[in-house]
């Protein structure tokens, strides 16, 4: 387990979210929306790309987007940090992103890999779990 300072850049999760994709399918019965085809999510400085993103709504009928489930290879960029994983779940209210499956986090020259990365965008902290390996560049340049 390793505490990671995940970029001073916090993301204000109340910023507008912009999603572009090849196609979007919205089921009118339960309102779930599925973006497919090089999906790109942008919010402030944060960018997330994925093969498919399924958007889930708050059940209280207020139609707020509660969370986004990204699958099919996810890359997550926020300022100088970038993280790659197989899947990611971004819960908008708490501003928390949980990435799972061969996670590789690069911070400038340093790189950390593990099984699970939990990032809280509101206070910019992150936690990597599961066989964490760190590659630190010794500053001999």
């Amino acid at each position: 387990q390793a505490q990671v300072a995940f970029g001073g850049l916090k993301v204000d999760s109340s910023l507008p979210v912009e999603v572009t994709a090849d196609s979007l399918s919205v089921s009118q019965s339960d309102g779930t929306a599925v973006f497919t085809g090089n999906v790109l999510v942008g919010q402030g400085e944060m960018r997330m790309t994925a093969g498919t993103i399924r958007v889930e709504y708050a059940q209280d009928g207020s139609n707020d987007i509660r969370k986004m489930v990204a699958t099919g290879g996810v890359t997550f960029v926020n300022g100088q940090e970038a993280a790659e994983a197989r899947e990611a779940i971004y819960t908008l209210e708490s501003g928390q992103v949980v990435m799972t499956g061969d996670v590789i986090l690069t911070q400038g020259p340093n790189a950390i890999s593990g099984e699970r990365l939990t990032v809280n965008l509101n206070d910019g902290t992150g936690q990597m779990d599961g066989r964490v390996k760190t590659i630190l560049q010794t500053g001999n340049r």
Binding site: T20, S23, S25, V26, V55, G72, L92
Partner: protein, 211 residues
Amino acid sequence: MLRADNRYSRFVALAKIILPLAALGLLSTLVLFSRSVDHESAIPYAEVDVHELARGQGIGEPTYSTVMGDGSAITVRAATARPNLAKPSQATASGLSARLTAPDGTVVDMSAREGAIDTDTSTVDLRRDVTIVTSTGYTITTDALATRMDRTQVVSPGRIVADGPMGHLEAGRMELTDGSGMAAAGDNGGEAQGGYVLLFQGGVKLVYKPE
């Protein structure tokens, strides 16, 4: 006949002459001085061009409704419709609106200024200022739309702009189907999709503002 000597009898005799004359005068004014009635403006004419009406037979306020295979019902209504004489199953219509009601109660209202109905191929084409309003809170505008009347399929081949619960959305193409034809896209795979599915394609851009 004795001469009337007192004033009253003379007055009565005089009255017997003057009063009938006065009555005759009054009656004659009825006939002699009556205004000539202007027949031209008395009857209000409708301003519609009679030739236009006679040339093509039109139907006022036609309504066509049917229930489809999958249980949804569609009602097509127009302000006026004019059947195509060459092909009686076709009709062009103006002020067209169509309402699609799903078995689960979702309602999709489509309206346009102009359109055409073909009962052979059971399709309705809507053109010019097409708007689609769904009971799930989506308002979609496009410039052309084709709706089938034998199964739930609404296709807008051109660009659409949609505003809905998930924010403002633009896409290259849109299709509304009853979702049974295709499993829900994405990883949750073939979970049975009841109800309608709105499929936006050709590049989708959504802007969502969290409150």
